[in-house]
């Protein structure tokens, strides 16, 4: 989004204000805006905004786990929940939408900052499924994170 002064007298100055909503940006970014004017020798000039947007809480290596294998022998999966703030965060609960398929366990690695969430397949039958674990936190900026668990379970 841009706001700008439309007319600037000779010898004068004006402002061009650029805004970025960081909720739609992740990691390092570079945004470009082009200013178009009536300067006959320089009709357009590019302006650049650079920076880095950090997640409040991140899942490492990501928000997805695959549990693949024969029934009863599926290796467990895990992610780390990492608090990127300087003040600690509490995990206040995990909601599981497929409790017949998936069981979870959480362990504090670095209290308030790093947790390990282990996910285990407990299917009684073969088949594919997608489960969602909703991790609830006490951080008002990031009250929930979702971990998607994809299962592919074969007969023994």
């Amino acid at each position: 989004m841009a706001r700008y002064d439309r007319a600037i007298p000779p010898g004068g100055t004006g402002n061009v204000t650029l805004k970025i909503d960081s909720s739609s940006v992740r990691g390092e970014f570079e945004k470009k805006a082009i200013v178009w004017s009536n300067d006959p020798d320089r009709r357009s000039i590019a302006l650049y905004l650079k920076g880095q947007v950090k997640p409040h809480i991140s899942l490492d290596p990501g928000g997805y786990i695959a549990l693949v294998g024969a029934k009863g022998k599926v290796p467990t999966g895990h992610v780390k929940i990492i608090n990127n703030h300087e003040s600690p965060v509490k995990i206040i609960g995990v909601d599981n939408d497929l409790p017949d398929r998936v069981r979870w366990r959480i362990e504090e690695i670095k209290p308030g900052f790093v947790y390990r969430l282990e996910v285990e397949d407990i299917s009684k039958e073969e088949g594919d499924y997608t489960a969602h674990l909703t991790i609830r936190t006490d951080n008002p900026e990031k009250p929930e994170l979702t971990l998607i668990v994809r299962g592919e379970i074969r007969e023994k």
Partner: protein
């Protein structure tokens, strides 16, 4: 060169001169012209958390002798 060729050449030359005059900006015709200038064209923010609004104001100078009109600002 025949008179006919000479007449065509003169007409062509005058047409080109007229076209050049029309295509020149009005301000240049008057001897004045805006000149846009930014001292900085890049800004780097300090790292922020997701959801924060990022805003920066660039200062634009008119170093010319006619009004500078900013027509639009586009994003890419």
């Amino acid at each position: 060169m025949t008179a006919k060729h000479l007449r065509h050449s003169v007409i062509f030359f005058l047409s080109m001169v007229a076209l050049a005059c029309v295509s020149q900006p009005l301000s240049k015709k008057n001897g004045t012209s805006p000149m846009i200038h930014f001292e900085k064209t890049t800004h780097t923010f300090t790292p922020v958390f997701e959801g924060e609004e990022l805003s920066h104001t660039f200062t634009v100078f008119n170093r010319g002798t006619a009004d500078l009109d900013i027509k639009k600002v586009t994003h890419s």
